[in-house]
């Protein structure tokens, strides 16, 4: 029996989404499409009369900005917002900044798919020589986390994402849900998938096939033990949502030669 409702979502497009590059912990801003996706998400939630009590985001701009735009659409700017690195996108290690299509050409679509969608395969770690290493680790936001800078990840599998996300869910978010608060989690593709895997009990094999569209509110209904009572639901026009899912899935593929 559904006792609690939770909304999570994956932020909209940033510049690198269009270029098909792994963005990960690089702090890309939303592009104009991404801003529009966030506003539409907010309008969708407003039409459904959602009244949030608390919002959680990662410490990456694109998730925070998405949350702000949604709150603006709802007229709920006053709702408290809390940000944590534990909701950050999966750390793609040495693959950060690389183009997915180029990777598919070099390593094969299947290897890329495994890196992107498997549960416990870790990409190679990011090294100091990586062009984005210092941009990430010199940033002040990573000096005030609940773990020291040198213990923050240098690469992650989806399993690793869940391991660092779960303490935050258990200690910060779950207690608020249990208090009956309506929660919005504005996150990323992989941090959202990791959380859904945990709450819905999705297997390590099946998680590979789960794709989340950007900018679509995802409703999860939970029982009194915070287990999902059914599969997650995408809120909005279902045809548009299926097209959005396909768009994400196509990102890993090599483009066919044009005739």
């Amino acid at each position: 029996m559904s006792k609690y409702k939770l909304i999570m979502l994956r932020h909209g497009e940033g510049a690198w989404n269009k270029e098909n590059r792994f963005c990960s912990w690089v702090d890309q801003k939303l592009n104009s499409d991404g801003l529009e996706e966030a506003r539409n998400c907010g309008k969708q939630l407003k039409a459904l009369n959602f009244e949030f009590d608390l919002v959680f985001t990662s410490v990456l701009n694109r998730s925070i900005h998405t949350a702000w735009l949604i709150l603006e659409e709802l007229g709920q700017e006053w709702v408290p917002v809390e940000s944590s690195w534990r909701l950050n996108e999966r750390h793609y290690g040495a693959l950060i900044g690389l183009n997915r299509e180029q990777m598919a050409l070099n390593h094969g679509e299947e290897q890329v798919r495994l890196w992107r969608r498997s549960y416990n395969i870790t990409p190679p770690p990011i090294e100091e020589s990586h062009p984005y290493y210092h941009e990430i680790y010199n940033d002040r936001r990573y000096k005030v986390c609940d773990v020291p800078l040198d213990q923050l990840p240098r690469c992650e599998s989806l399993k690793d994402v869940l391991e660092r996300l779960l303490p935050y869910w258990n200690e910060r978010i779950a207690p608020e849900v249990l208090r009956g608060k309506t929660i919005l989690i504005s996150a990323h593709g992989n941090s959202s998938r990791a959380l859904l895997k945990h709450l819905e009990g999705i297997s390590d094999e099946d998680i590979i096939n789960i794709t989340l569209p950007t900018g679509v509110p995802i409703l999860l209904e939970l029982d009194e033990n915070l287990r999902a009572v059914g599969p997650h639901q995408f809120l909005g026009d279902q045809e548009a949502i299926q097209a959005a899912i396909k768009k994400v899935e196509d990102q890993g593929k090599v483009k066919k030669a044009k005739k």
């Binding site: 702090d27 990456l60 701009n61 007229g75 006053w78 408290p80």
Partner: protein
């Protein structure tokens, strides 16, 4: 040598303010569409000065929160913790909420309007249950946890200050003393309450204080949180002077 620096910013012009010069108070008036341009000077100056904040405080009203968001976006510090509190809300305008300032001045006289807007302890008439904005404000979900004593029906500047100061003392001061760089984005009267307290201003002196909108206001404080010099405005002299004049001109009736 300053032990601490504190930055305050008052939101830009409200949609109501801009369109018809109305008292908004606790009404959750939006900023006018071009407000992000107005706060450009405020945020550019912060960016140029290299301010790195640790914590932000703001009210529960969108015009302050959205001003803060514009600043945080511009200085690339969107990830900072933000604490919202009704105690930094604008002064509650009571029965004058939604009234046009120029019309009120024509009806009650400029002097009465000045008293209501600028005196320390004379509140406007209370907002009654039959006021068109009574439910919109008093029954708003965000104020559901306020006790009857806490939820105002009108406020003098003394009341607004009395509301802000416990929060200042219990929540903001300890953070400053821990060495946190604090940014407060709020409203004309809640910020005047803090300024009065910091500077030990008299009730008469606070009447004369006009805080400019959308510009960063910096206090340099000693270890006892006393200002070591007058407040500074970050921005060019022309912008600052212009903004201060604009606020003072509001109470005058249109000829």
């Amino acid at each position: 040598m300053a032990a601490y620096k504190l930055v305050l910013i008052q939101h830009g012009e409200r949609a109501w303010n801009w369109m018809e010069n109305r008292f908004s108070g606790w009404y959750d008036a939006d900023l006018r569409p071009a407000s992000h341009k107005e706060v450009k000077h405020g945020r550019q100056a912060l960016l140029d000065a290299g301010y790195e904040f640790d914590l932000c405080f703001t009210s529960e009203q969108k015009r302050a929160i959205r001003t803060l968001w514009t600043v945080l976006d511009a200085i690339d510090q969107m990830w900072l913790p933000v604490v919202r509190t009704w105690r930094l809300n604008e002064r509650h305008c009571g029965g004058l909420t939604d009234l046009n300032e120029a019309e009120t001045a024509a009806k009650h006289g400029e002097a009465q309007v000045k008293i209501w807007r600028r005196s320390y302890n004379v509140p406007p008439p209370p907002m009654k249950p039959n006021h068109p904005f009574y439910s919109n404000i008093s029954k708003d979900r965000r104020y559901a946890d306020l006790t009857e004593d806490q939820l105002p029906s009108c406020e003098s500047l003394k009341d607004t200050t009395a509301s802000a100061l416990p929060f200042w003392n219990e929540e903001i001061v300890p953070q400053i003393k821990e060495g946190k760089q604090v940014l407060i984005a709020a409203h004309g009267n809640s910020l005047r309450g803090i300024a009065k307290h910091l500077e030990g201003l008299s009730e008469e002196a606070i009447m004369e204080l006009n805080l400019p909108t959308a510009i960063s206001i910096v206090y340099e404080l000693d270890k006892n949180l006393k200002p070591i010099k007058p407040m500074q405005f970050l921005g060019d002299e022309k912008t600052v002077g212009k903004a201060m004049e604009a606020v003072a001109a509001q109470g005058k009736a249109k000829k």
